[in-house]
Symmetry: C3
């Protein structure tokens, strides 16, 4: 397995290079990423190229048996270029050209920028593409945004629409411009959407798609150059988990595999401590789901191109990785299909915006506790755990992740706090807490590969997709849909149909009315059979069962006629619908069990709090990962087998240390013995 | 009575029109509003007019005995016009021209826009003005803003000031430009005010007045064209309750009557549920007061041009109308003098910004529960309740509503959370909870028509108005004034007098000092006689009684010498002054009783929580409305008489259903029997 | 002692002047400030000067034995000038030129503005500079900002950098522009920093320094003109306490003494009441510390040029000064070294932005309670207390106040809520509550004058300063440093050293890791000896003692190895280090005692809540001030001696009235008797 760090030789005096490389080798590292912010160093003035120093660094690593991934340096254009060709800088929504001084601030529709970018990528790949020690490439860095609103981009948007819709009449129809009589007579009348809560949902959605396409096309230009000049090397890009800007299924298409940057402690997460003294598990569940999405984007295992190495942040930074946490964060990703990992970064920069985005080493360059823990982890990963590389992550349960729906909600959240990712995660967590592997799939994926498909908040639902979901149920699948699923067609017009639209076939329900609710307001909910009660809020579909059976109902009088959760037998399958947001986690645990049962799958028990269980497998072996995300010991029931890290036999009730990890190896098909409820 | 809907035939295929109209007729509807957003449909390119389709729609309604109100379509200019004549779009405070794509975004001082607007209004009114089925006109849509800051508007503002002040010397004086030596030498040096918390209060106030005048003048242009081309039809405009931008007394002047758009569930109001499980009554009290202001703007009954039909909102929407609520909202307005009502809108749009501003029908076009409830309501209004149309709303109590004061507070709220409308509503609610009819009047109105006049926060108080208020008291009236009343003259300079200025004559007090207080801070207050105590906050006048008598005093030591509430006998009347904000509602109930008693009016009991009582009357009959604003049964004492809806005799203790309504008819002068405390 | 008011004769009719002056004289006032906003009045159109009216006012005051301080009127340029020479107005960060209408909005790098400013200052000082009744000058008004981003300023910034760094290579190095390869090839490529959380910390810091320098240089131009035309008069400027924009040590350099504007009740402070009913002491402690900084800026006594006279604020104003509070606020400043005081302002303006920044008199011009209280205070200050003028404020404890560190934190607060002033005040308050005099000093000051030096959050620490701190300890001083001290060098690059860098010599500790913590998160802390426990939060250094001794440790397991508070003997002194933020005030009281003890100074008891004690002294006498900041009586132990206000003997337990003041005079060296714990 490839394990290493992101390294910036250009930040340190040459005499330090050998010290750093010796320490890396000592830590068992076998790979580094280099050069993704070095455009100025490679081309200090226009047309003057300096590639020798980088070649020298690649050579030096080769001498030390450490392979190199090179980043193309296009994420930061040199200042001389921005001064000489101002039009290469992006323009914000108010028409102001971005000032030089950050990164990711160029216009991908600027012909000049594309020419400059082509030239540096050509030079770099031509010079080092066939170097023996270069094993792969990272294109640019963290594609996302910002959206550019310059005249070139406007013109590109107009052409993109023209290509898509063919005629102005079709565009007026697709965007529903008859409303408030905003009709367009001419392509040049098309403007950018003019607010986040868009006046025109279709315009907003198409602009999001356009922006994603622009990035995908820009990446493709570079991929083609790399493949030409550097045959046999892998090409990847560092994605950002649940970042909202780009359709990652599209972005992954031209790459060999997906890499991503994992910073679970970044952002508001500093102490991440709940009032009961335990670590907050939310960031870890999110990192788990993000890994599943990253694997799903290409439907294969992935790399971590930047892994948390210390406190992260810019002006304010966050919590340090606590003892064992750096290892815990690393192994969680391996459990999800990570087959290569580089810590970001080697040594904390003394300069620039990221002075406090800490590396394994501090500003002082001394190998300390974090270095030692990374070393331990690297030696385990490249040693005892090396058999896991290229193993599969199999799943019977799929969650649809749909960027169209996500973008459409940006313009119209419908209810307070509506968040597409969170909506999906509510169901994800029900499976997570039972240790069930889950795949994230596109709405264009083949549903029949799975036994259970969750289509939460699938807001934009073209008829073709709805038909495929119905067909999935008819042929034996188990579907869960929920509120706001199926409201829109592919142009973000509302379907002129009673909800849930075409899905009524499989769901067997009818929703004439619905409403959003004040944050603090609760409708009471009770099981149709038995006495379980829950609290519903934020949003409510007023559901009438036609063919379906109601599993939960409202008990608040004026909505007392309506169902909350329904099940319907359709063909050989079952289709569930949940018409509100339930507050209690236990409901989603129960729902996961219902879905698994309906799909005739085993229903594992809910795991002890803080413990995550996931599996990977090869043809011969099953690897069950037990990861403790709490900073204290927890009891857990281990599968019987061999702990590959300690090489000891384990099984039955055992104790997992604070933030500890066990990986149990079994012969294939031996799993599941103690999984029944 | 006219009851119907706002209809957008241009949103739906022609073949749907007959289905919609049949359903409307079935519901008892007899009016629709059409065409207020159809400029592009009427003039798809410059000078090319298409009026035939609209005439066909008007004909179709005529065939079905449904009358038509036509809206002039000037609230949304066509995109081709904005592209061809960019100067017609308004300019924001930062000098950016508004981008096309919303509505109400043109410049009313643009000569080009005025010419274009004249032309389309001329064409439309010439073509359909004398159509038999057109009974009236709505000018444009929801005049308000935004304020435009273009060069044409600056020049217009300079001329407006020149006309008003005559000389630069007078303007320097009026705005007090000697402060910080901001003096003007030349009219062209006048700029727009440059912040909300204006550096110059006079400049801010005059700019608000100017903006209001610009709208009034623009409306007048259209009214004149309509009256010329469409004789005998009414002309109205849809106002927006407590919207702050325009002086509605001025805007009403050129119209036959006021209409308004009533959305009590819009905005933050979603579940509108209080912690005790009851519906929050605040939005309903506000809708009640807004109706009184709308009636007051023209001192006559009004229409609802857009009435709540379902969940409302843009990106986020709100609560559905619950069972009986659509009818409850409608009847509340009738109680206040509504004589015509149109629900907004017929069917929910599948396109555009208002996809979630729901109509009676959903996106699916099916007549459901909301349609049925509207039908019931319409049949009651046009049937059993038809005798109420044109009846009067009489009142002995008037509340002054003054746009000058409201605008002046925008620049200088004085204390945290100071809100002019809320200040006025505190007193309003005291009367509301006792079922007392109230009129809202301008500060220019004839006070002597009333027994009680409330002048709350009458911040801008010209000497002439102060004298008229003193005269009102002297000749027997009962006046209530409160803190911040009388601080400013008509140019927003502070009166160089000890507060309360000229009103000291009638109030008999002197205020040497005053202060604003931190939100959480409380002064304790106690009755001079008896033991009642209250909590005062936010603001405190340090009042000394000269001729007046103190009814409440502070008990906090360092303000212990000062009065809180005073009464003074002046001539034949009484003048009260309240120098702080009391937290408890009960204080305002008590104060209403004191004012009524001082005016020798009966003092009805405080009504059960949630129940609203109002009266309308004809020469022969008194109609007493009982409206339950809670979603559960309440007990109420009904007047003895005939419930005109059920045509049954009622009287004494009775139960009002959830959100229910009773209208008791009596012979005139039979009222008041059980109104004494 | 000079006591008086800020007076604006230009706001009032000439016939009022004599009334005002008679009232001032009656109140014992002997000084007024005039003219600082009169540019238009002095030059109503270009080149037309009108100085006669001002001379007449100065004469009138002379006749009444009231001296005059004149303000140069450059803080508000006339409107005609802004219209004629638009480039004199400053430009905001987005490139918009500031609109005329406020103040302090001109560009100090504009050649035109400088010429105009020179001309009016020359005219005014030439005309009145030698008037017998003019005793001093205030330059301009409240220098601070805003920062101007026009082309002239950009060019000036580039030249300032060129002068400082000499070569582009040196600038690339200093700002660490290799990070993200932002390197500069040419001086003209330098731009302004482009966000508050700067992409480049060095660029941000240099820009703050540049802005401060620009103000200092602009002031110097005026000082030179005044000194030429008005020999023998003092020159001062009105500072603003803890205002962040300028290095006040630099700004003070060209002045004779510092004045400042003291508004403790301004801002969020309205009722300033805590839940227990007492006044909030925070604003008074801050006013106390601000006074110490103002005295420290020039290391000599200061004036209050604007003293709180009533409610303050613009659109919203605050609490009135309560009975005795105006006097309390005044005497607090005298205790800190105030030797001249003018209340702002005489009479409340009826016009302009400051209609509610209340003076001693209200809008009505009547002498009321506030006037009477100011009169009492003025008579005490000019009578019984006159011996205090020019007495010293001596201190053994110094707190370093460093603008470089403060500015660097703006770009990188490191932890949530990090506020440089608050960080410094935590230690200040420990001394405050024991009645210890404290000096604020620059990091360039001579440390050896003190026994204790507190260097809190001394983030930017050049090696030379670190060496001087080590030397201070070595030669017997007591040093306290804390977290984030010593992170940066003078260019805001991180030191590439293990923390605490060079200070490790004196501190005897090593910090390999550190972290910021979520607001609500707590690490438990316990004394190494004894059982005292505290709560640590926000930030944590993981401290290992090398030579130092741990006084407090963490008890939370995973940081259990690390020290919280350490002490180290180094040479003849002691060095303490605190690696976190302790929540409890008591900790800082204890720490102050530890520092005093280590310095072999007496340790006075913690004072009763609300009481402040400070001393001033002359060669012969010690004056001990006891100031009660609560609005109720408190018990206090008075030193034995003469209360100079009442001229009575006092001593031992006594009661201080609400907001009351006692000043005890002793023969020098009689202090300290009851100061031991």
């Amino acid at each position: 397995m490839y394990v290493g760090v992101d390294y910036y030789p250009e930040h340190w005096p040459e005499e330090r290079w050998r010290i750093d490389i010796a320490l890396m080798r000592e830590a068992g590292f076998n790979i580094v990423r280099l050069a993704e912010f070095t455009w100025y160093r490679l081309e200090p003035s226009e047309g003057q190229y300096e590639l020798q120093w980088l070649e020298q660094v690649v050579d030096l690593f080769e001498e030390n048996d450490i392979a190199v991934v090179l980043g193309t340096p296009t994420a930061v254009v040199p200042l001389w270029a921005a001064r000489k060709y101002p039009e290469i800088m992006s323009t914000d929504r108010d028409g102001h050209r971005t000032e030089y001084g950050v990164r990711k601030d160029t216009c991908y529709n600027s012909r000049v920028f594309n020419l400059m970018s082509d030239r540096i990528v050509e030079r770099l790949t031509a010079h080092l593409g066939e170097h023996r020690n270069v094993v792969g490439w990272q294109v640019d860095n963290e594609f996302a945004g910002p959206k550019c609103y310059c005249v070139h981009c406007l013109s590109a948007f107009q052409h993109w629409l023209q290509e898509k819709y063919g005629s102005v009449v079709a565009l007026n129809e697709a965007w529903g411009l008859h409303f408030w009589s905003h009709n367009i007579n001419d392509w040049e009348e098309v403007r950018f959407p003019n607010a986040l809560w868009s006046n025109n949902p279709g315009q907003h959605l198409d602009h999001c798609r356009f922006h994603s396409d622009v990035n995908v096309r820009y990446q493709r230009r570079q991929v083609e150059t790399i493949r030409k000049n550097s045959p046999g090397r892998f090409v990847t890009h560092n994605f950002m988990g649940f970042a909202p800007e780009l359709d990652y299924f599209d972005l992954a298409e031209d790459l060999d595999f997906v890499s991503w940057d994992n910073y679970p402690n970044f952002g508001d997460v500093r102490g991440t401590i709940r009032s009961d003294g335990d670590l907050d598990l939310e960031p870890r569940i999110r990192a788990s789901a993000a890994a599943d999405l990253m694997r799903g984007a290409k439907a294969r295992s992935f790399w971590i191109m930047e892994q948390t190495a210390g406190p992260t942040g810019w002006g304010e930074f966050g919590r340090n990785v606590w003892p064992s946490e750096l290892r815990n964060i690393a192994f969680q990703q391996v459990a999800h299909g990570c087959d290569g990992m580089l810590w970001f970064r080697w040594r904390t920069s003394t300069a620039g915006r990221e002075q406090y985005w800490h590396g394994l080493l501090g500003h002082d360059g001394e190998p300390g506790r974090r270095y030692q823990e990374a070393r331990t982890t690297a030696l385990e990963l490249t040693g005892a755990c090396s058999g896991i590389v290229d193993s599969d992550v199999l799943a019977e349960v799929a969650i649809v992740f749909d960027y169209d729906s996500r973008w459409a909600f940006e313009a119209q959240p419908a209810y307070s706090g509506c968040d597409y990712v969170q909506s999906v995660l509510r169901y994800y967590e029900g499976f997570y807490r039972r240790g069930i592997n889950v795949h994230f799939i596109s709405s264009r994926a083949e549903f029949s590969k799975y036994r259970v498909v969750v289509a939460s908040h699938l807001y934009v639902l073209p008829d073709e997709t709805a038909s495929r979901l119905n067909e999935f149920v008819k042929t034996g699948g188990v579907l869960l849909a929920d509120c706001r699923t199926g409201v829109k067609d592919e142009t973000s017009l509302c379907h002129a149909r009673t909800l849930p639209g075409l899905l009524a076939d499989s769901l067997g329900i009818r929703i004439d009315e619905y409403e959003s609710l004040e944050d603090s307001f609760i409708y009471d909910v009770r099981a149709t059979r038995g006495h379980k009660t829950y609290s519903a809020g934020l949003y409510s579909d007023w559901i009438r069962c036609e063919d379906a059976t109601s599993l939960y109902r409202y008990t608040t009088p004026h909505v007392g006629d309506f169902a909350v959760l329904t099940i319907n037998r359709y063909g050989d399958g079952r289709a569930f619908y949940l018409g509100t947001i339930i507050r209690e986690d236990a409901f989603y645990d129960e729902l996961a069990a219902r879905l698994l049962t309906a799909a005739r799958l085993p229903v594992p028990k809910v795991l002890p709090n803080g413990v995550q269980v996931r599996t990977r497998c090869t043809a011969a072996h099953l690897y069950t990962f037990y990861v403790n995300h709490l900073n204290r010991e927890v009891e857990v029931d281990l599968a019987h087998g061999r702990d590959i890290i300690t090489d000891e036999a384990v099984g039955g009730t055992a104790s997992l240390g604070p933030l500890g990890v066990v990986i149990v190896e079994n012969e294939r098909n031996g799993e599941g013995d103690d999984d029944d409820e």
